[in-house]
């Protein structure tokens, strides 16, 4: 059918030599119900998601379309059998859990026992920040709508652990060329992931999965990673996840599903996390990285880097060198700058240059004195606050107050969030405006298929029966069966392609007619 959809013309691949790329993030929020610590988190999560869905006053609610989901396909070239998979890996089964597709192209749903927000597909790190931040507002609104009292009983946290052994994820997704050998990704990206926590760690009070060790570490997630490469996401978590579910033409694309990042509040942390990773992936795709930066014992090294906020820990490289994590980041930075200079030169776009400049500036200051990054990076902002408390009140790392500060830093309630307090006191740098974040709660990005999905859900809500990353399914008058519009190319369905068509189509039937003419 897609061949007949004339209006769906092909878009040029986003400039792969830059920070530009089709990407998105997913955040699983921690959840508590005031006064009932034993409340069923699945029920509470469903309440939140359903309340948000109900608030949009749509007569009809589109289902999620699971047809193209293949969570057990492994990037190394095989598929896990459903019988041996852990139940939690079967993310393509519709368990009847709450699930809503938003007019901004995002998905808000219940994953395991957490509400989860997946951003729409965007093409720049800055847009990740905008739609990721919009997700925080959506999640908070959902709590407000779910409340039966003026003071919401449900609170969500944008963190990754309860410090009692449980972790929940914040993932990044990057569309990559299928032709890139997966082994190249593993080789070049693993050392990058071991070291990037010095930039994008969210900071954590507690050492070890159950947080029983006293002290501060760079990352919320590091201690929960146990293997180098694998398909799992809920147990034996791997540094490189091999889920091969591109939500796009699998002959052309793969999706790198990154499960190792922390949930960030600071906009610069998020921006650099995604921007620097996009640059590294561009270099891997272009085979620009020739030097082997492999780290010995990467899993153990990941933990050791996280456990040393002085940033002095030395990593052993396979080539015999010993480098700190910041020095290893410098290796990637210098390669990236040379790459952008050589491939783009004067044509380099503003955001790519900005990511490089900020990356360089942050690494320079981390080396001099990490505290100089307290207004930009989550882990430093959090550590500074903790150290001030320790100094003023003489607190040991075992003091529960410090664990509380760690937790409350990530609260999504504006009046309880310590991150928000720091922002309001002018101590955290912002990259995006409140207005654009608020708008992004409802409006999709204009340059990916999320535009088509979001606009359809906004304008033709009554006729959209289901949708997913790669389809919108209409229930049209005069058609017996549902009509599925595939959106397999993430760069088609942008405003440039379908904006006029949607504007000119008063109802879904006329849009469908125009698309399939």
């Amino acid at each position: 059918m897609s061949g007949r959809i004339a209006a769906y013309r092909s878009a040029p691949y986003a400039r792969p030599m830059s920070v530009r790329r089709v990407m998105g993030t997913e955040t699983e929020f921690g959840i508590t119900v005031a006064g009932s610590p034993t409340a069923n988190p699945m029920v509470a999560s469903s309440r939140v998601v359903n309340a948000y869905a109900a608030s949009s006053h749509r007569a009809r609610r589109a289902r999620w379309d699971f047809e193209e989901e293949t969570p057990l396909r492994d990037a190394r070239g095989f598929e896990m059998s459903r019988q041996v998979a852990d139940l939690s890996q079967l993310t393509d089964e519709d368990l009847g859990l709450a699930n809503v597709i938003l007019t901004n192209g995002a998905r808000l749903y219940v994953d395991h026992a957490h509400p989860e927000y997946s951003t729409p597909e965007v093409t720049t790190p800055r847009d990740i920040v905008v739609w990721d931040k919009a997700g925080e507002l959506v999640a908070y609104d959902a709590c407000r709508f779910a409340a039966t009292t003026p003071d919401p009983d449900i609170t969500l946290y944008k963190n990754n652990t309860d410090n009692k052994g449980a972790s929940y994820g914040s993932h990044e997704n990057y569309l990559m060329r299928r032709s890139t050998p997966f082994a190249d990704i593993v080789k070049h990206v693993t050392p990058f992931f071991v070291s990037r926590q010095v930039v994008c760690g969210a900071g954590r009070v507690g050492i070890g999965q159950d947080g029983r060790g006293h002290g501060f570490q760079l990352s919320q997630r590091a201690d929960f990673f146990e293997v180098e490469v694998g398909l799992e996401t809920t147990l034996k978590r791997p540094i490189i996840n091999t889920r091969d579910e591109p939500h796009a033409d699998p002959a052309k694309y793969r999706r790198l599903h990154v499960i190792i990042g922390d949930a960030n509040l600071a906009e610069v942390s998020t921006y650099l996390k995604v921007g620097t990773t996009a640059l590294v992936l561009a270099m891997v795709e272009d085979r620009f990285l020739t030097r082997d930066l492999s780290v010995r014992k990467p899993v153990q090294s990941l933990h050791e880097v996280s456990h040393d906020p002085s940033l002095g820990h030395l990593l052993e490289l396979a080539d015999g060198r010993t480098l700190s994590a910041v020095q290893l980041q410098w290796e990637y930075f210098h390669a990236a700058r040379a790459y952008v200079d050589q491939r783009l030169g004067a044509d380099a776009d503003e955001q790519t240059l900005d990511v490089l400049a900020r990356w360089e500036s942050v690494l320079t200051r981390l080396e001099r004195d990490p505290m100089e990054c307290a207004s930009e990076l989550d882990w430093v902002a959090k550590l500074k606050l903790l150290e001030q408390y320790r100094q003023r009140d003489g607190l040991e790392w075992s003091n529960a107050k410090l664990a509380l500060i760690d937790l409350q830093y990530s609260s999504l309630r504006p009046e309880r969030s310590l991150y928000q307090r720091l922002v309001r006191a002018g101590r955290i740098e912002r990259l995006v405006g409140d207005d654009e974040v608020t708008a992004a709660m409802h409006e999709p990005p204009t340059d990916t298929r999320a535009y088509f999905r979001g606009r359809c859900l906004d304008k033709y809500a009554e006729q959209v029966a289901a949708a997913s990353w790669d389809s919108v399914i209409f229930d049209l008058p005069g058609h017996e069966s549902l009509q599925r519009i595939p959106t397999l190319d993430p760069l088609r369905g942008s405003r440039a392609h379908v904006g006029d068509l949607i504007d000119a189509s008063p109802d879904a039937l006329s849009l469908y007619g125009a698309l399939t003419r």
Binding site: T32, P37, A400, A425
Partner: protein, 67 residues
Amino acid sequence: MAQEQKQPRRSTEDEEPVDAGPAPEGAATERKERLDDDIDSILDEIDDVLETNAEDFVKSFIQKGGQ
């Protein structure tokens, strides 16, 4: 326009007592005190929003594992 010109002048005025002050350490101490005040003000503000029983609150934050 007039306001724009005012600011640099004010900052010069701020610096004057430092130059004319008794010793550079005096200025440094003053800066440090201002910094400490700054720290105290944000901590005071945060004291007000921290949950009252840290121990209980942290203990009751129990999550199920996710992805």
